[in-house]
Symmetry: C2
Subunit: 328 residues, 2 copies
DNA sequence: TTGTACGCGTTATCAT
DNA sequence: ATGATAACGCGTACAA
């Protein structure tokens, strides 16, 4: 079934069929009706490749993340897919992995499909190769970064102010009387750097213990966190609260602390389902993904309609207080 | 940059350029070299839509699931994407949501993009509208169902034998001396039915308590499970072990049980990260997603090469024993 | 209101 | 080994 077949069956030209197909301009009600009928009868579907060739678009957005199996990325992609779906856009998914210097390959892969835009979710572009390629991509297509940002023409950032969020947490801990806040993180993405900065600022502002031993970069695994925390306690490194860049780290830390017979406030980040699965439930800083993703898609549609958009939007984080925040 | 530009710059015809582009047939080493050089210089990339139009394929696979933000689906999609990526196929993602009678819309959406095949991850097609459309899809494109199956021409199933897995679990509990095993589940997908059947068979085989109050369908939420389990205990419904269709349910159940001052073996399903975040860590039945997904992609490539493939493949499940299995 | 004809960038089938 | 040219199916400017 092509547009020619439909045209023939209706005794009209393909132009007319194309017109009703695209709801454009004036077509007599009668012919329109007939064409619609035949299209339905024949179950006609325009060929997307031909259409793409003519319009230079197949209404597809490339969405890139490091790893969909991570709940943070998964949630974001779920949200973005559903929002895009509402306005008839498809998502082509790309998972880069956490390695450096290989992300550009995935961008390339998406660009080869002529996606109309690229949405990147919290993925670091530190390696020169990756970064250069990304900037080249931006010359051809808009790039929207969710919870990450790189200042460059045609790259837009929609981020959560986790820095303030984190620094506020430290403030609350200080109010509670905590003096030494342990910070555990696993990677320095844009978001990761924000949180670390927030932690440091919080510590400085509230004149808390600045012991460098209290800042630990570790792997994102329960075993590693537990081991690290236990070791710190065994080595008598004093701390009376824990903040982490990730719920999983907070969970591991909490487990280790309880096992060592201690107790103190613990705060994670990302407010994932994991946080609620731990006992006691983990207090967590929510980066408001739902808002970020909605705004990302909103911004995209504005861009497509040549409207003006801000290059950077910042939304506040929100703390979800749960049991782990209560000093026992 | 089109194939014409490249041809012109090289003083050859587009046919020759196309030949080197597709590595086909014989081209003199010299011209080939020159063409490759110019292509690199000009950063030439063939237009995917034009190519799609000619070949009637853009090497894209539609992948459908209910909800990527669910860790089971997320893991599956992550695996499938990476396997497909290795052989240069793109993933178009579709998330249907858990509603019935709307999934066909999403299939339609994918089919409109002329994907070469569809992979469906554990998504139920109970509603007639959905099912009929799915069967129609199968007339045009191969459909591969991961952890689900519908017997039909051109639909292939790659499933995990969770029925046996579940029934074996009940057996192990019986060996431990348990008499009344509570079963909690949240949905009757293909996989969900398998597990329920496995549970019933296990109960029957080992002559355990068949009290219908021990089979509870509930919402997938921590609050609901906790409430349900507490109510059962308060109503003096006796049970001495819990099995659930989902890790999350097991976690909620465990929490309620501990809070009520009891203790017993608890087993979840899907072996997600959640299971490890609970304390005690939840024993879980792993449906071997990695194997299923790898085989799904393998099967797909065979299909594309017109090789014979089985319509259904079944792999065994695997129990990961953790703390929650130890009767305290 | 409707039709004609061309362009979109490939691949593939013929010739040469 | 290479070139000319016909599909592929659609959108659209222009003509009627």
């Amino acid at each position: 079934m092509t547009i020619y077949d439909i045209a023939e069956k209706c005794g009209v030209s393909i132009a007319t069929v194309s017109r009703v197909l695209n709801g454009s301009s004036r077509v007599s009600a009668k012919t329109k009706e007939k064409i619609l009928l035949v299209m339905k009868e024949q179950n006609y579907q325009p060929n997307p490749f031909a259409r793409g060739l003519g319009l230079n678009s197949m209404k597809m957005i490339g969405v890139l993340c490091e790893d969909v199996s991570d709940s943070f990325y998964a949630t974001a992609i779920s949200l973005i897919e559903s929002y895009l779906r509402l306005i008839d856009w498809n998502v082509i998914l790309g998972c880069t992995g956490r390695g450096s210097g290989l992300k550009y390959k995935h961008l390339q892969f998406l660009m080869e499909k002529h996606v109309d835009a690229i949405i990147i979710i919290g993925t670091p572009f530190n390696h020169t190769k990756d970064l250069d390629y990304l900037k080249n991509v931006a010359k051809k297509r808009p790039v929207i970064m969710v919870n990450s940002y790189i200042k460059h023409n045609n790259i837009y950032g929609i981020i959560c102010d986790e820095e303030t969020g984190m620094s506020d947490i430290v403030g609350k801990l200080a109010e509670k009387g905590c003096k030494s806040v342990l910070y555990l993180y696993d990677s320095l993405t844009y978001s990761g750097r924000q949180k670390l900065t927030g932690y440091k600022k919080g510590i400085a502002t509230h004149k808390l213990d600045e012991n460098p031993l209290l800042q630990n970069k570790i792997n994102r695994s329960l075993e590693d966190v537990e081991q690290t925390v236990k070791k710190l306690i065994e080595q008598n490194v004093y701390f009376d609260a824990v903040v982490t860049s990730e719920d999983l780290l907070a969970i591991g830390a909490q487990r280790a602390i309880l096992q060592m017979g201690k107790n103190m406030p613990i705060v994670g980040c990302n407010n994932s389902l994991l946080a609620q699965c731990a006992t006691p439930m983990i207090t967590s800083l929510d980066n408001q993904l739902e808002i970020l993703c909605r705004e990302a898609v909103e911004l995209l549609t504005k861009l497509m309609n040549d409207k003006e958009v801000p290059s950077k939007m910042i939304f506040p984080a929100k703390l979800y207080q749960r049991e782990s925040f209560i000093y026992a």
